[in-house]
Symmetry: C2
Subunit: 232 residues, 2 copies
């Protein structure tokens, strides 16, 4: 019975902490939702803070089990791998019917990092990041510098995260356009993949850098990709 109340507190804490943040959430609230006595949280966790830390940990641990990492056949093209990766991330961020409170916890952790931040990144974020880097390795020249690879990776996940972080702003900006389905997970996944593959093209021919951007859109050089041939 002891472990039971412990788990009940942890599971109840997730969505509540996600909704209100650490401050803004009361232990009474959590205890009521978990249907346990008020003193239980201090008996089992010692303090509200360690309860929070354990909650964050468990939340992403369970989330990782529930929605597994991206996977693809061994002979998939790198483009398809990227598409699957983007789709997986978006599903993790936006999907799952209910509300996706786990990612709200993650967002809060991004804005206001606590001690839960570092293990979260190492256990939960870095594996996905490395997976994306592996895909990018197939799409970028071998000579591409690590920092450039990283920035490209951030450009891709940044597009995905935007629809989670700024979802309220997006809704206000586009009005009722969302009802057209243009912002479904499938459409967004397709769009981001397409945009990113285009963006990758700009890094396929390694240039010194930063000199390939002033070409006018009307003309296109023979390689077809933006290049450094025309500095205005």
């Amino acid at each position: 019975m002891a472990d039971d109340t412990r788990l009940r507190i942890l599971r109840a804490g997730g969505p509540i902490f996600a909704g209100g943040g650490f401050e803004g959430t009361t232990v009474r609230e959590i205890c009521a939702a978990a249907d346990v006595n008020l003193a239980s949280v201090n008996y089992h966790f010692g303090s509200k803070e360690t309860l929070y830390l354990e909650t964050v940990q468990l939340a992403h641990q369970e989330k990782l089990l529930r929605v597994p990492p991206a996977a693809w056949p061994a002979d998939a093209s790198p483009q398809d791998k990227l598409r699957v990766f983007v789709g997986t991330i978006l599903n993790r961020l936006l999907g799952e019917g209910d509300i996706g409170w786990e990612t709200r916890l993650l967002m809060r952790e991004m804005i206001h990092p606590t001690h839960a931040c570092r293990p979260l990144v190492e256990d939960y974020i870095r594996p996905q990041f490395d997976q994306l880097l592996d895909v990018l390795a197939e799409l970028l020249p071998d000579t591409t510098e690590p920092s450039v690879r990283h920035r490209v990776a951030f450009s891709i996940v940044g597009q995905c995260l935007h629809y989670r972080f700024a979802s309220e702003f997006v809704s206000l900006l586009i009005g009722d356009e969302r009802s057209t389905g243009a912002y479904s997970i499938e459409e967004l996944s397709e769009h981001i993949t397409r945009f990113s593959l285009g963006g990758l093209e700009a890094f396929r021919n390694e240039q010194p850098r930063s000199t390939c951007l002033t070409e006018r859109p009307e003309k296109r050089n023979e390689s077809g990709t933006v290049s450094a041939t025309s500095i205005h």
Copy 2:
């Protein structure tokens, strides 16, 4: 002297609210920082909540004055306009020496929208969004659908916002790579512009959609851009 304390409260409230959020920030804290009496906030604002709303409003109002919107010569190429736009956004998000607490307020508002959200978007976000759409209009075919234009715009600002939202995660992921300067505002601006112009290329030849992404990177068709010619 009355307006003076009013303003002092508002200005002191900005960074404090940004740091601790609405909950997590005490009126006493703000009054101490503003060096005014505790009762002043209720005398001048009526409640903590309306103080918060007015604080958010003033913060972005002053921010908008301090770092003006992107501007370019009339004959600038759309590519250059995009570069300037991205640079301006990044400067607004990451620049300004101190800490940029205004954007933290904005981030909080994104995650946990309050009544301050709607006017914030209309007065502060939408003008920039429209400006970006104007630039994109020069880079995309006239036939491009509005929803596609919007998603492209989000792909661009998403890349920028990522370095503000996930800055802690970015730091943890890249280790001390930041010290190389690869994540300076200038470098990031250059990278995002380059990546985005590449991404835009993928939308230059309007395809039905979603069929242009499986081309293998080694071969390239004559137009040079990714296209719908090969479905695997």
